[in-house]
């Protein structure tokens, strides 16, 4: 294989565009503001990024299977409310509260999946309804007040978000969990039989079903996965910031979908990439962080995000067309 065809192969990868964008972004921000690559800023960046990142991993698989979930932000806020309310009212120990919170996410995921697959309602409508229901429950249960979290001391908290340092860099354990989840889900998507089913379910569900692929079961499992990973991320976040706010996670769903799509996963299903999603997460999080550092008004952030989404979509569609015309 010559250099040229090797380059062509690299360029035709869906992850290539996001990678270039990320590199450009890092270089541009570093040039404008040396503080961008400082230990303090990187530590700062890596505190919240893994939490949002976990949701995107689940969402990538779900979107590859042709569905998406708008209720992730609500579940992100709801699960810690379940855990901390149970704990604060002395009903159960924290660990049991954690299990109950995860189980409640399983039920939300099953409900989403059931509505979408058995009642054949588009996931947009189902999960929009679920977004309101779940958020509503969180607000109602708490009367809108944040739940105390600082009274607890459990090894579980250390496992989820214990702090550690590498030189000057301070990280939370959530970063390691994020990396582990990314490896596992990336493996599932591209190397496993289940991954083949996920892609097939999103690409052409009828054809997949005709081959014996359990499309319904695959989709329901992914709705459950997405809900559970969102709950896990929400609990992680509540421990790190020492507050379980019933409003937390609001509007995460759109940012998450934007990250996944920027990474090269098709909104219409059939094609997905975990590596691309990780790049997409970094692109948007660094954009938010860097823009403030180089002195662009924070309110202008959305202009850049919107611009990036549009530019990346244009790039993906251009690459797609070029690919199909047989070059």
């Amino acid at each position: 294989m010559g250099i040229k065809s090797f380059l062509q192969k690299v360029i035709s990868k869906p992850e290539f565009g996001p990678l270039v964008l990320l590199v450009v972004e890092v270089v541009a921000f570093t040039v404008r503001s040396p503080a961008f690559l400082s230990a303090g800023n990187i530590s700062n960046l890596m505190a919240f990024t893994p939490e949002l990142g976990m949701i995107t991993l689940g969402m990538t698989l779900l979107m590859t299977a042709g569905e998406f979930d708008l209720s992730v932000g609500s579940v992100f806020g709801f699960a810690p409310i379940v855990m901390w309310t149970l704990y604060n009212t002395h009903i159960v120990p924290l660990e049991i509260g954690f299990v109950v919170a995860i189980l409640s996410a399983v039920i939300i995921g099953l409900a989403n999946g059931w509505f979408v697959t058995y009642l054949k309602i588009p996931s947009f409508l189902v999960t929009l309804g679920m977004l309101l229901v779940v958020r509503g429950i969180a607000l109602y249960v708490t009367d809108g007040f944040p739940q105390r979290t600082w009274t607890a001391d459990s090894p579980l908290m250390k496992i989820l978000v214990g702090e550690f340092a590498i030189g000057d860099l301070r990280f939370y354990a959530s970063l390691l969990w994020f990396i582990l989840f990314a490896i596992i889900l990336g493996y599932i998507l591209t190397e496993s039989k289940a991954g083949n089913w996920i892609q097939a379910a999103g690409g052409n569900p009828e054809a997949a079903r005709a081959r014996g692929v359990r499309v319904t079961r695959t989709k329901i499992a992914l709705f459950v996965l997405t809900a559970v990973i969102s709950a896990y991320a929400g609990i992680t976040s509540s421990i790190r910031v020492s507050a379980a706010n019933p409003n937390s996670g609001t509007q995460y769903e759109l940012e998450v979908i934007a990250m996944v799509v920027i990474g090269g996963t098709a909104l219409t299903g059939g094609r997905g990439t975990i590596i691309g999603t990780v790049l997409g997460v970094l692109i948007l999080r660094m954009m938010r962080n860097g823009i403030v550092l180089i002195g662009v008004p924070g309110l202008a952030y959305n202009i850049f995000i919107g611009g990036i989404i549009l530019a990346m979509m244009a790039l993906h569609s251009w690459l797609e067309r070029r690919h199909h015309s047989g070059t």
């Binding site: 039989k193 083949n196 892609q199 079903r209 081959r211 014996g212 692929v213 094609r271 199909h324």
Partner: protein
């Protein structure tokens, strides 16, 4: 009408069968009792007195169709004659109101496409039922992926998938070097049909049903598909070929069955002993 009534002499069947399956032009079997009691050793699939309604419209009435081993059957009929309905019942996409289906002499229930595939009946539709985003190899093995290593890891045996795919593509006559990791979306219509046929052949479908396989294909690709159909017979498969283009059907089939308004009007036309005009007049019901 001579063509329609002509007893077939090609193939390996005895003359009893030929006599037994002659139908008259009104679509009633001349000697149905005899027909249903004879179980031919080489009969692969038989659909017996199938009835199907869509609301009050009777799409199929008492349609009987049989396919022997190593036989290529052409199923012809005008639009709305019931060809696709009949085939969908056989492939599990639709269910008949009444009638029986026998595979290798055993009565079977086909509730869905999975059942049909398990019985060795593979249907290749116009859109070939492939998944455009997936690679050739992943499509070939979809639903029956080989797994290597411990089961817990659920790991695809991609080397094996690619190797088998490469061999199969050669078998079905794709000479161009196409890597098995190429997504289906990058293939031409004829190449897609070839992949679908390769899949049916690899998984030992005994009966391959091709529903309008040459639609939207170029001349060369059409020839390719027709060549695959002939090749399928040589490698021990049976085929039902549905096509609007009678010329294509005439080129490859052993026997032609004609449906008109939901009824079988001929089921033993030998393309070697009749003319296209004669078959056309049977399809339309208008005398020459």
């Amino acid at each position: 009408m001579e063509g329609a009534r002509g007893a077939r002499t090609n193939g390996t069947n005895g003359t009893d069968k030929a006599n037994a399956t002659i139908l008259n032009c009104e679509g009633r079997t001349a000697n149905r009792e005899l027909l249903t009691t004879i179980v031919m050793a080489d009969e692969l699939v038989r659909m017996d007195r199938i009835n199907k309604f869509f609301g009050r419209v009777q799409a199929l009435s008492d349609v009987t169709l049989s396919v022997n081993r190593n036989e290529i059957v052409g199923l012809l009929g005008d639009n709305g004659a019931g060809k696709s309905t009949l085939i969908k019942i056989l492939s599990g996409a639709l269910r008949a109101e009444s009638g029986d289906i026998y595979v290798r002499g055993n009565r079977v229930k086909i509730r869905n496409t999975t059942d049909a595939i398990a019985l060795g009946i593979e249907t290749i539709y116009q859109d070939s039922a492939l998944i455009a985003q997936l690679s050739i190899a992943r499509n070939l093995f979809l639903g029956r992926e080989p797994v290597k290593g411990p089961r817990f890891f659920d790991r695809l045996d991609q080397d094996k998938m690619n190797q088998v795919a490469r061999d199969l593509l050669k078998q079905v006559g794709i000479k161009k070097e196409i890597p098995p990791t190429t997504p289906i979306s990058a293939l031409s219509g004829g190449e897609r049909q070839a992949v679908a046929i390769a899949r049916a052949m690899h998984f030992e479908s005994e009966l391959i049903i091709l529903d309008e396989p040459t639609n939207n294909l170029g001349v060369e690709e059409t020839q390719g598909v027709l060549r695959f159909v002939r090749g399928a017979r040589d490698s021990g498969h049976s085929c039902i070929l549905i096509a609007h283009n009678i010329y294509h059907v005439f080129q490859v089939v052993d026997r032609i069955i004609v449906l008109r308004r939901g009824k079988t009007v001929a089921d033993d036309i030998d393309p070697k002993r009749t003319t296209i005009e004669a078959v056309e007049s049977i399809i339309t019901g208008m005398p020459l």
